[in-house]
Symmetry: C2
Subunit: 362 residues, 2 copies
């Protein structure tokens, strides 16, 4: 039986029993999944959770501290959600960061199976796991990447072998190329003495309003991330209205990062001062006609039962309001377009009180 008190939870997807780690336990990461044989009696496979990538606040000392004089790969960090894709007993499964089999992403994975010819890959490497970022119309990011067309897209950033090790970065890019698998963009290989080129890459990503970069040693064992201020500003603007439901430091960490980035990369201070203030005035402008603190989502599913399962999963955490379900044709596929909202209760209550002139003790 799962050790519920220590943070292991038993769940079921499509007749398949699995356990998920709801917390880090010892060296086992939150989101680790244990898969069972068809009898549901015998655990047969462990899919490790994805390790947290450390963030640095200043690029120059960060790169030196992490990599010294060693080379590292720079990949673009895409702004989506983290998914592990694998085949278990003939079923294609998509696991979220938290270790849930996501009914929505797993359904889309079937589309990717065709689109990316995943069968060719998994027939050769049946026990490998594809770690990737998922972008497009999805139930987890309300800020969707605007460069992505309607639908859902997968970009590999790690491949795990059957022994639980990640492929070396170099080998991974060779493999995705030979199988024509989708991948996050590789921006190059660097050493810390080429910091000015890294600054230039980040200025460029910032101008294009891209999220940021991940730096990796070839083994993927030393990894760090760095995000652009335009991303941080957008996060601030779009999340102010949920502020009382965010973890402490969500806003202030981003403000600190923006200020440090503007200085380290010699961006125009006046321009960023004004952008920063604007993010606040614009973010709070929703209070002018406030009804509730919510995030709107628009997704595409094939089967009504996929939306039902997803809604049940999401409702365990935040109340979900379905606004619209309608049949559409997407890329030649008959699908359902679902509009829904997540409603954030604490922020809704607090902002209503504030707007009605309640007094607060602070």
């Amino acid at each position: 039986m799962p050790d519920v008190e220590r943070g292991v939870e038993q769940r079921e997807y499509n007749g398949l029993k699995y356990w998920r780690y709801t917390d880090d336990i010892g060296t086992t990461l939150r989101g680790t999944v244990i898969l069972f044989d068809p009898s549901g009696q015998r655990p047969v496979r462990t899919i490790p959770g994805f390790p947290h990538i450390k963030r640095v606040y200043r690029l120059r000392p960060g790169v030196q501290r992490f990599f010294h004089t060693n080379p590292f790969f720079v990949e673009e960090k895409l702004d989506g959600y983290n998914v592990r894709l694998l085949v278990h007993q003939g079923q294609l499964l998509a696991l979220t960061r938290g270790g849930f089999v996501c009914p929505f992403t797993s359904e889309w994975a079937e589309i990717w199976w065709q689109r990316y010819k995943l069968g060719r890959f998994f027939v050769t490497y049946p026990d490998y796991v594809l770690f990737g970022e998922v972008l497009g119309d999805n139930p987890y990011n309300s800020q969707r990447d605007p460069t992505i067309p309607p639908g859902l897209y997968f970009f590999i950033f790690e491949i795990m072998r059957s022994d639980g090790e990640f492929l070396r970065v170099h080998d991974r890019y060779e493999l995705v190329e030979s199988y024509e698998l989708p991948t996050v963009p590789l921006l190059g290989q660097f050493t810390s003495d080429r910091i000015d080129e890294l600054f230039e890459i980040l200025r460029d990503l910032n101008n294009k309003e891209r999220e940021g970069v991940v730096f990796k040693a070839n083994t993927s064992k030393k990894t760090m991330k760095f995000v652009t201020p335009r991303t941080d500003l957008r996060d601030i603007r779009d999340n102010l209205i949920l502020e009382f439901d965010l973890e402490p430091g969500f806003i202030t960490n981003r403000l600190l990062r923006i200020s440090l980035f503007v200085r380290e990369l010699s961006l125009k201070e006046d321009e960023f001062a004004s952008r920063l203030g604007r993010a606040f005035l614009d973010g709070y402008s929703a209070l002018e006609t406030f009804e509730s603190s919510n995030e709107k989502y628009n997704i595409y599913v094939k089967l009504p039962k996929t939306w039902n399962s997803l809604r049940t999963l999401l409702s365990g955490y935040v109340p979900i309001k379905t606004d619209r379900v309608e049949p559409v044709v997407l890329d030649g596929l008959e699908m359902l377009r679902v509009e829904f909202r997540r409603v954030f209760r604490k922020s809704t209550r607090r902002y209503r009180e504030i707007l009605r002139g309640y007094g607060h003790i602070d």
Copy 2:
């Protein structure tokens, strides 16, 4: 014996035993002080803590909710620290908000005794307590009011009778006038239908970089406060460098208030967007040559033992570094000028890590 577990602490000042409430207990407020007779056996007097004043985030609905059609007084809110002044067994005592007898403020109270002829008042009203805001060179506000000359100044905002009730606002102003006692400025008496005049007062205080207003029913039992965005901006700028030692919400509450104020009072959005961003860039500019997160103070004391007692009191909470002690003459009085710093450990450690390029998981 004090009920330590429930948050009552026994302390001593100048041979005088007292208890302070370290927390709210039932209806007794944190900061309430119980004074003893000379034997130290019998509690003889209770000085209630100062009640928290509720803050409203929007003026128009706030005023209506608090006062309906009833009149209320508007006082300027001065930006200092809250002190209760009283005479107990021939000793003049200054109690801080937390219920400490402050050796520094109590020493200055002797100067005020002369300056404001407090004897005339206390001989007639020996059991009254003067509640006031203290401004000037002090160990509690590093952001001192720039309009105040060197030294320390007291401004009454409530007077408590021996029965524990506050004087009515109208009676209080009569009393302070007849005894020529120092007082917070009264800005007028209003009703909620004159909201435009209140907006004008607040725009004016904001332009003058004053802290804000307190609105009070004549009994002082309905009270609310409202602070200007210039004050909030200054608080943000000056406290960013201590951020990891601040309570959660310190920065974000101020950002929300500023945004709401700018809209409600129709201030220039572009100007405030840029001021707001500037507060962050300027506040974090201290990281360019960072050594530690600290606040600098400059105070004047008469006796070395006063500084010793104060330092002991302060050191119980934040490490204190004394930078300089020198004799000076202030307003004809021989005094010691003391420069010291409070060092904030958590912020110091976090910022050092950040600047050295450590990785953080968030």
